[in-house]
Symmetry: C2
Subunit: 150 residues, 2 copies
């Protein structure tokens, strides 16, 4: 396998990104890979926000992974800035290659670089393999994550 690069996403990456979001037990019901328009609108909103970092992992000119890092300043914990990781996906061909670890380590390093004191994420309770993965990387499953659909 060729070298891996993690870089900011570009508009041309969107079809590959959406295909990865949809190729997932939960994502399959939530995404619409046949209609790119809502994703293009969202991409514009994302790139206009300097605290959003949507990155892609690229190997041999193919998009093989992605995550979104959000920087959140705040008052609590003595004015700590935290980061939030969302939308972690690794292409089916790359599972077991260590790419998930490289993506999360990139997010941790970037969070440090941005002055964050805390990195957080939530993972659906059904993704038990992912939970072991995050605990191996040093995360603590200290919280319950609540969601409300509008």
């Amino acid at each position: 396998m060729g070298d891996l690069a993690i870089r900011p996403s570009a508009e041309d990456d969107i079809p590959a990104l959406v295909a990865m979001l949809a190729d997932d037990p939960l994502g399959a019901q939530r995404e619409s890979p046949d209609d790119m328009s809502p994703y293009l609108t969202a991409f514009e909103r994302l790139t206009a926000d300097p605290n959003q970092h949507l990155v892609v992992a690229v190997r041999d000119d193919r998009v093989v992974g992605t995550l979104q890092l959000t920087i959140v300043p705040g008052l609590s914990r003595r004015g700590s800035t935290r980061s939030i990781i969302e939308g972690v996906r690794v292409h089916a061909d790359e599972r077991g290659s260590g790419l998930g670890t490289q993506l999360i380590e990139w997010a941790i390093d970037e969070s440090r670089r941005q002055g964050c004191q805390l990195v957080q994420l939530t993972s659906d309770k059904t993704r038990t393999d992912a939970h072991r993965f995050y605990e191996r990387l040093g995360f603590s499953a200290s919280h319950t994550g609540f969601k409300l659909q509008l």
Copy 2:
């Protein structure tokens, strides 16, 4: 009791905000109400970010509650924008008054107004009363929340 107003926080509110953050079983160990400087720096960073909404609830000219709402655009779920609630606090004198509900309902309404399709938050696993509260308001405890201190 007088009428309640929920409004954007101002720099003058910071001492009252920090006192509420510290008056909490978990916050007591994490905050430094005797040193405002890290909070003032964080407040500047917060107010410079148009996707951050740190609000206070005020009754009879006293700050009695707070929360922070962050708007996070994203690609997943057909380009959904989500909001994240952090740092919910209700003054000890106001507990049981319905103020917590009013704050969360404010956050849900504001999330709708900003075009969000999802509201999410995490709560420490030890805060079991808070968990019942969020479930009564319609939130689903569908996720595990992971944190990593840097």
